[in-house]
């Protein structure tokens, strides 16, 4: 098998395995918007000489979002469902010059993978987690996610979701993350800026991205066209400056607060560990 040539057209193409495009995501899927913002952040950082993209380790779990790892032209992995964080942690600790990014879905990261999420945050593990929250288990066809609004009819909750949705921002804060923000695909530029800020930091950084899944979640709630769901999302998100992560409401019916909720600079786990070992 010969190595395929990789067409370069779009400004971020050099960071993409373009020979694999178009990607699998449905028309209007917010994962693409999020990944795009990430690419632009990396490009700007590298153009500014602030990052070396050959050190980026881009790890995903399983899900629609998880497919991202296969499209980006970084070192990376498509790990078992829910396990992206420990995989990235192992790689980072074994090779501290890596810049680990975990890019995965809500079900993957705070559903099945929730325990790794809180413990990585607790340790202040050096990883930027980009949580693409489309409020549903999309790849598997529309089952309830931990982020699904209460009452929603999904394929596994045909009588309405009885669970209250998780607020990943609060959980990360309770566990002790260094950086916590929530954005939405309605604000790709703010999202990119946030990624630009968080990527070079150390410690645990969470950026939750409220996304749109027109194909499945949109269908469930009756907003099938991408732009309809997009407008619906626009209506509910509010940007708020300087509020505590514990006040960052996540309520699809009332409001979903966007913003940067925590910016700390506690030393990252890798450094702490190496220090401890040095004095050992």
């Amino acid at each position: 098998m010969a190595v395929a040539k990789r067409p370069i057209i779009h400004p971020v193409d050099k960071y993409l395995r373009t020979e694999r495009l178009p990607h699998v995501w449905c028309p209007g899927c917010g994962i693409g918007i999020t990944l795009h913002a990430f690419m632009r952040a990396v490009k700007e950082l590298e153009d500014e000489g602030r990052i070396d993209s050959s050190k980026i380790l881009f790890v995903s779990g399983i899900g629609c979002t998880g497919r991202a790892a296969g499209y980006v032209n970084f070192d990376g992995a498509h790990t078992p469902h829910g396990r992206a964080i420990p995989y990235a942690m192992g790689a980072k600790l074994a090779r501290p010059d890596l810049i680990p990014v975990v890019f995965s879905g809500d079900g993957d990261l705070v559903g099945i993978g929730g325990n790794h999420f809180i413990h990585a945050a607790r340790r202040n593990m050096d990883v930027l987690v980009i949580l693409v929250n489309n409020m549903i288990y999309a790849l598997t066809g529309g089952q309830v996610a931990p982020t699904t609004p209460k009452g929603t009819y999904t394929t596994t909750t045909p009588f309405g979701n009885p669970d209250r949705p998780i607020n990943a921002v609060k959980i990360a804060a309770a566990a002790g993350a260094n950086y916590i923000a929530r954005w939405a695909v309605t604000h790709p530029e703010l999202l990119k800026n946030s990624i630009k800020k968080a990527l070079p930091m150390e410690g645990f950084r969470l950026i939750e991205v409220v996304s749109i899944c027109p194909e499945i979640f949109g269908r469930h709630i009756g907003f099938r066209a991408p732009i309809e769901l997009y407008r619906r999302l626009q209506k509910v998100v509010k940007i708020r400056g300087k509020i505590s992560p514990f006040e960052a409401t996540y309520d699809w019916e009332k409001e979903i607060i966007l913003g940067e909720f925590q910016v700390r600079n506690e030393p990252g786990y890798t450094r702490v560990l190496m220090e401890a070992f040095k004095h050992g």
Partner: protein, 378 residues
């Protein structure tokens, strides 16, 4: 190095830990569990001083995934656990096999099933070691029967993992890891230490899953510009997900075949008095030592007993077993479970009876315990 300095008085956990250090382990992630914690603790004191990284994770699933990630980041990586933790690693051991990450997993077998008896011994994870994950893949399992072998085989485990890019399981047991023995520690060149093949081409030409003739692909390391993508889905030479029959068939066969075609570096066993053995025992691990005692005492009384002790359990050297069994009238498999290794022996031996002697005691069985079960065939 003085004679004293390279002699240790170690249990099999410590010996395996020393073996790992000799083999160059530099990443360990683990979760405490009796009786494997001891190994973790031993390394926790030693590794940081030698520039290695060792961490306790939130569970065994995190541990196994951390070592797979570390392995791709270039580390010689391992973990150790016991039954319950080994079970939790099931999914990701298949992942390691699929993405051909060299890793070593030590399973200190204790009494099962379930929580069982944490402080008693067993050999109930033999079949599990081969088959715990879904789908078809290849894996290697080795079983020492002394601290010296725990040391030697841990080095071998790393070498196989690195050379074949497979997960290698070291099956030890509670008795071994609670028993100290004289161990001679070695250094290269007395002992061979292997590392994975690295790419021989620049990143643009590198196909991360294209095998060499030995069916093993060279392995890039994260962070060195190869921009390698590690895919848990069925993938082609680039690591890209494709759903083509030919790609799938080639990949899945190769994951097993690379062990078969390289079996000369894997297969291992020891025979005791098999040449003219009429009764051939098959046993492994600490149990084999009790069986060996039976055999030696029987020989002293002129009885033609022999012992075939597989060291590589998966794959087992079935040709050697057949040869050792040639003159035997009966084969007796002695193991501390209710019939696992037995199944493989019974499969291989076609022309004479194979009996199972299940030993279900909590401590190491005495030769008498074993004889009691076997009496009816002797």
């Amino acid at each position: 190095m003085s004679r004293e300095a390279d002699i240790g008085f170690l249990n099999s956990n410590h010996a395996a830990a020393e073996g790992a250090l000799t083999a160059g382990v530099n990443f360990y992630a683990g979760y405490p569990i009796t009786p494997a914690s001891d190994l973790f603790e031993y390394l926790a004191r030693k590794m940081p001083k030698q520039g290695g990284v060792i961490i306790q994770t939130e569970d065994e699933i995190a541990a196994i995934n951390a070592i797979i990630g570390a392995s791709w980041a270039g580390a010689k990586a391992m973990t150790a656990t016991s039954g319950p933790g080994f079970s939790l690693m099931a999914e990701s051991i298949g992942f390691a096999a699929m993405v051909e990450a060299p890793i070593v997993i030590i399973d200190d077998m204790r009494t099962g099933p379930s929580t069982g008896v944490a402080t008693a011994t067993g050999q109930g994870d033999v079949m599990q070691a081969r088959w715990l994950s879904h789908g078809h893949y290849g894996i290697v399992a080795l079983a020492p029967f002394s601290a010296q072998e725990a040391y030697d085989l841990t080095i071998k485990a790393f070498n196989i993992a690195e050379r074949l890019r497979v997960p290698v399981v070291l099956l030890m047991d509670y008795v071994l890891v609670h028993t100290r023995e004289k161990v001679r520690l070695k250094k290269p060149p007395e002992v061979e230490v292997w590392s994975r093949k690295k790419p021989r081409v620049p990143p643009e030409e590198y196909l991360p899953f294209k095998p060499d003739e030995d069916l093993v692909p060279p392995m890039a390391t994260y962070g060195e510009g190869y921009r390698v993508f590690v895919e848990s889905l069925v993938h082609d030479y680039r690591g890209y997900y494709v759903t083509r029959d030919d790609v799938y068939e080639e990949l899945v066969k190769r994951l097993s075949d690379k062990i078969t075609v390289n079996k000369h570096i894997v297969l291992d066993h020891v025979e005791y008095y098999t040449d003219d053995a009429e009764i051939l025992f098959v046993a492994f691990g600490s149990t084999a030592r009790s069986v060996l005692s039976i055999v030696r005492h029987a020989r002293a009384r002129g009885l033609k007993y022999g012992l075939f002790r597989p060291i590589s359990i998966w794959p087992m050297d079935t040709d050697a077993l057949l040869k050792a069994a040639e003159n035997a009238r009966k084969i007796i498999v002695v193991e501390m479970n209710y019939g696992q290794l037995f199944l493989e022996v019974d499969r291989v031996i076609k022309d004479k009876p194979v009996y199972l002697a299940p030993i279900l005691t909590l401590d190491l069985p005495t030769p008498e315990n074993i004889l009691e079960v076997c009496r009816k065939w002797l």
